[in-house]
Amino acid sequence: MSATPSLLDNKLVKWFDQRLPIVSTMHHAGMEYPTPKNLTYWWNFGSLAGFMLVVMMVTGIFLAMHYTPHVDYAFASVERIMRDVNYGWLIRYIHMNGGSMFFVVVYIHVFRGLYYGSYKSPREVLWWLGIVILLLMMATAFMGYVLPWGQMSFWGATVITNLFSAFPLVGNWIVTLLWGGFSVDNPTLNRFFSLHYLLPFVIAAVVFLHIWALHTTKSNNPLGIEANGPQDTIPFHPYYTVKDLYGIGVFLIFYSLFVFFAPNALGDAANYIPANPLQTPPHIVPEWYFLPYYAILRSIPNKLLGVLAMFGSILILFLLPWLDTSRVRSARFRPIYKLVFWVFVICCVALTWAGGKPPEGLALWVARIGTIYYFLHFLVFMPLIGWFERPLALPKSISAPVLAGGKA
């Protein structure tokens, strides 16, 4: 490549950078960052998640220019965006499907972390920050779904806020506080809009911390061993900037298929009926990315225990660095964990399926067995497998497995 001069060679930039080292910091973090040279495409999903956050914030800001957070006007203002605002349909479909795409990307990112042990020392804080981002995303997505003020918006909001009534003593007080009244109504819609606009900026701040923690402990890699030195790493730019851009290109094709050809495939038709506080739709389901938790909630025939299990299914992830007792990170070298991991993935898919069905018959039993397995995986299998499993021999270095057949 012809030598591209660094921005820091510029005298003016240098002058500024000596007073506020923003250019050199960006250069250090976004270009020089020594990255393991063996990252696979599973490592694309972090940057994809960051890309989705930007897409959601940009489209959301433009939607907010046309949206009216009032129970009498919200539904009509969304329909006005669809019919009258220039490219409003496009911006809304990008935002609406963007929610699903964001979760697709983040879930793959999380499962990649689970498979390759990215939560283990020294990356515990990095992992925690990721869970915080996931929780913030869930809150943001939930409140965003309420804003169009359709039937699913209203009844989803009613059901989810009522979850908090399960807590003894303070439950009803919390719910009234959330509502700002005695049912989901205009004050609820107003505050949900306010918070839906705020939380993405909080997410962006936690993403900054997440990346800071990442750049402190450095990226994990498919072998799960640390880089021994410069010979095991390559600079982030151009190697991974190009790879990430390529990933974004492929991802955009997938995303566009939904936006342009099946924009309502992931949504619920009932949300195109204006909210009616006097009539609940026959079958209430959350968006697909909440279905596993919804299945866990409904699988337990006790209000408080169901709510606790649902929240617990995510909060348990905070303990993962200690629940997993194996010292080997990557599942590549853990034959038993690798198997159990895939069973766990199937368990999550089954819970997603069961969460979308009415809670009766087969779906209820799948949800119950899935819930038990979900917690068994974390609380029993992970600690035990770490004890009795004999991991395969780890390579000496990131370079070793590649160079072994060659001259080294």
Binding site: S2, F62, H66, D84, N86, Y87, G88, L90, I91
Partner: protein, 185 residues
């Protein structure tokens, strides 16, 4: 670029550098075009929407407006002054020497029927609504309108005569639907 595939040759190395530059520029161009086409709908969404454009014409019934009276109607969210001028007002508007005007326009170019003056009631200085529509309002030194914000005087043809405003009150596009009704916009 098909003739560059000769690895090892000096020419090959040279062409490889050229090819990389070409690919770099191509990637940059694709990125720039892609970003621009993503930004376009966002910017476009800030322009008036279809329902706003649909409201951009207003019909006004002139029959109840007597000679000497004026009404204010709303068009595109702005006031439009409709004045049924008296013969004296028409005469004073017509006899002005164009050389005395900051923004010279004969009265005949500003009206379709001399008795009806229709202008946008927004001062061309900084957008205030001039006084002069109601009976007790000050009408300035020239019997038209007076803008209280920064003291611009308009005559009976809505032309600027004195004060900081740079131009005459704008004449909106309008047509007489019948003898006694107009459509603005």
């Amino acid at each position: 670029m098909a003739d560059t595939a000769k690895p090892g040759s000096a020419a090959g190395v040279h062409d490889d550098a050229n090819r990389r530059d070409f690919l770099f520029l191509l990637t940059g161009a694709a990125g720039a075009i892609g970003t621009a086409s993503a930004v376009w709908p966002l910017i476009s969404s800030m322009n008036p929407a279809a329902d706003v454009l649909a409201l951009s014409s207003t019909e006004v019934n002139l029959a109840p407006v007597q000679v000497g009276q004026a009404i204010t109607v709303v068009w595109r969210g702005k006031p439009v002054f409709v004045r049924h001028r008296t013969p004296e007002e028409i005469a004073s508007a017509e006899k002005v020497n164009l050389k005395d005007l900051p923004d010279p326009k004969p009265d005949s170019e500003r009206v379709k029927k001399p008795e009806w003056l229709i202008v946008v009631g927004v001062c061309t200085h900084l957008g205030c609504v001039p006084l002069g529509q109601k009976l007790g309002d000050p009408r300035g030194d020239y019997g038209g309108w007076f803008c209280p914000c920064h003291g611009s005087h308009y005559d009976t043809s809505g032309r600027i005569r004195k004060g900081p405003a740079p131009a005459n009150l704008a004449v909106p596009g309008y047509t007489f639907v019948t003898d006694t009704s107009i459509r603005i916009g």
